[in-house]
């Protein structure tokens, strides 16, 4: 969503609280926070330093104890 639209909408609906959250870090923690927030009704900007989200977990082979694929 373009910045302009966000600003306009919030001014129309609410003077104080912005219904958007910025999550800094695109690892499993950041992704989980972003998913929860978007499902709970908030717009999310997920900011990641590298070129793709996933973080350290994307590099793990298998996870305890079910040996499920980490992706």
């Amino acid at each position: 969503m373009p910045l302009l639209l966000v600003t306009m909408k919030t001014q129309t609906y609410n003077n104080k609280l912005i219904g958007a959250v910025m999550v800094v870090g695109g690892g499993i923690t950041g992704i989980q926070a972003a998913m929860d927030l978007s499902e709970a009704g908030y717009y999310v900007y997920l900011v990641e330093r590298s070129s793709a989200i996933g973080g350290i977990m994307a590099g793990l082979d298998k996870t305890f104890p079910t040996n499920d694929c980490a992706i």
Partner: protein, 947 residues
Amino acid sequence: MEAGRSPNIKIITNAEIKEVSGIAGNFFVKILCYPRYVDATKCTGCGVCAQYCPVTIPDPYNQNLSLKKAIDIQYTQAVPSSYSVNPDYCLFLNRKECKQCTRACQTGAINFDQKAEVSEYHVGSIIMATGFKECDAGSIESYGYKDSQNIVTGLEFERISSASGPYMGKILRPSDLKKPQKIAFIQCAGSRTQISGKSYCSSVCCKYAVKDAIVALEHEPDLDITIFFMDMRLYGKGFETFYERARKSGVTFIRSRVSEIKHDKDTEDLAIEYIKEDGTLHHDTFNLIVLPMGLEPHKENYSLAKTAGIKLNTHGFFQTGLFNPLNTIREGIYVAGGCKGPMPLPDSVMQASGAAVCASELLKKSRGMLITEKAFAEEISIDQEDLRIGVFVCNCGKNIGGVVDVAGVKKYAETLPGVVVSTDNVYSCSEDTQALIKETVINEKLNRVVVAACTPRTHEPLFQTTIREAGLNKCLFEMVNIRDQCSWVHAYEKEEATQKAKDLIRMAVAKAGLIQPLAEPVIEIIPKALVIGGGLAGMTAALSLAEQGFECYLIEKTSVLGGNLRNIHYTLEGEDPKLYLNELIDKVNNHNLINVITESEVESVNGFVGNFHTVITGANHGTDREELKHGIIILANGAAVYEPDEYLYGKSENVLLQHVLEERIASGQFIPAEEDSVVMIQCVGSRDDNHSYCSSICCSMAIKNALKIKEINPATNVYILYRDMRPYGFHEDFYKDARDRGVVFIRYDVKHKPEVTEIDGGVRVTVRDPIINKDVVIDAKILALSTAIIPRKDEKLGKALSVTKSAEGFFLESHVQLKPVDSYVDGIYICGMSQFPKPIDESIFQAKAAASQASILLARGYVKTEPIVSSCDTDKCIGCGICEYFCPYNAIKMTRINKKRKAEIVVAACKGCGVCSSYCPAKAINMGRFTDDQILAQIKAFGDSRE
């Protein structure tokens, strides 16, 4: 991947925060976005650019064990799936020559004119989740990590054993790519040290070393693996059994800290000397050594904390409080995960949910203002159309492709009746394959889709969403698991595995011919919650829901709120638990949306997600039974303290439970004198035949009380008899403090438990010290027992709710790592010590996480159920009622239609288990997606001749 698809999440990569201004609810954040040099809207992810790129660089995704190009993608399933240029290595960006990629790219996506840009965003809250990094192995000079290729870090070993890793899942050592026969893991590399690394315990290395050892043995059962450790810290749910499993599968554990590694330049082998606990010196040589490195904060935390106006702790992680584990000093900015300290994965996930709910409490008035619902194209009607089946076969990198002849399977699938197209893909779960599937469905006018890949348990929803986006009903989908059932179990029988994959696909295609679109029933949710248990976790969850605007019933069995927290009088961190508890109780009691009901118990629970009816009884109701209606349940009924029948407990008044000692110290009933000795015995009833698990909190509790005694009177003698000291994370610092202050720690072996006899004015404790191999005799005034934390035996509640429990008797989460607060029943969430023993801060963030998951449902107001429910053909139904009897979910009710008894399915409660269908003597009940016809077609296809 799911995050990449949400219309309400904007992913901004190659970006960092430059400035934060404003106040809670109303922040302005400036973000500096570095260029990718690839236009993400044009890039198809085909990878031709990387083929032409002449620059080869080490691949950080594979821990630099393999190579990649200067234009590349992080990993195959990366989101976003577009390539990007590494500006440090690109020839054009550094020397103005080359541009091979620009010429190679078919879509003109490469754009070297892109510049770094600053943009400003307006948000209500900020969540920091920047993670951690592995400590630098090179900094431990005596190990010589830089001099030998055959010393690898834990993360490097993860990539070595990964099927998508540099050696395609073969366990090889880097120097000569030969299989190492002897592997050693050296624990506490970079952790628990004052010299080269961090003073704290990194919490996760023991766990992942054991996991890596087990996985390596699964790859190569004849490996000889030794783990050198100081204390094995396998605290937490399920880990003690995992430790046991490793020992049984032949992993050797040696208690010793290895100080030096010597390299043999000719053989590339590694020699170590170590001293065992009994003082004997040993030598051994290994082919490969793994250093499960500790975790440390990113250096960038300093600048980030400055930018955001928040604080770091002494170790360089983001600072939080014991009772506010997700809050920073700046209102509206929250932190979660590895950036606030080392922690295992489920904790990160829970903190993420918890931080999300903190933001939600703050911004509740503007919930839903800025989001858009995901819109799907109208479903295509498939009535009276000829079968057009598409089959997509997955290589899963080498995971499937390394065993099964995927190209052959794909060709075979083309010959099956009804199949119009078949493809093979490297990773079917990647973003580009989703685009391919969507495109193929539309172009080939497919009306059934079969994916042969991994397990539907984790990946079916992804593919169903994809075909739904292409206009197909999500039930026009079949998934075949050719990973678990072919390439994994038949890893050494390649031909047979391929044949089996073909058989399974033939069966799925036969079934696909009969599948029909099904509707998803929508259930409304009563926007109220029931929280069971008025301890710390229950109160935290209730308060969080109420703060978000949801009405809440909070039921407590006793007459007072507070639970186990009432037994805590002081904390290691120094924060006052009494003060916090009283404030919390006040807030809960005075909140107009929380209805606190004390001295009450749950008698029965009926209904299903969105629509529960709970009957409670208790002192305040007299003989009346009160019925509550609510949409969700949060279980937080805590845990109890184990009372042992050993060590003279109950027989001598000098033998106490650890929390009773705490109470006596706090109240002044016990004032430690100079001549007094206090002995504490750890693991009483934990990690033994009574309770197989580690209770996680007792080591820190013992250290806390020992330090308190030393604070009151430094001359009092304190002895802690332990098996492994497990004060994980930053509590390690307090362990060191206790040793510095003269608390004596003596290890005992479970085979030689301490012996206790009564003497005048106290007890005599005799323990075998393994270091001197002699008995130590201590006459003590007080013996405090750190006993196990055990699940509450609440039979009434257990009967009322059919929530699955783990072998230990605690509530079981539906996925240990990724769904740590969901129970196996939809709409019921678990938190606090009823899930597993845990310290204060962990209870709080878990309660917040449960509130987060619950509030998502309550805010949405409805839930869609899976269409795999059963349906009853009332013409065939003979009204025998056997289905009602066998249904484990109370999802069948017998009703009367035209005066005849008939079965009626309560769709919302049905879980699709199929018990009713298999028992029905009249074959009147059919399962959505698993009808008799479909299953028979599958069986018949299995018998059909192969090829």
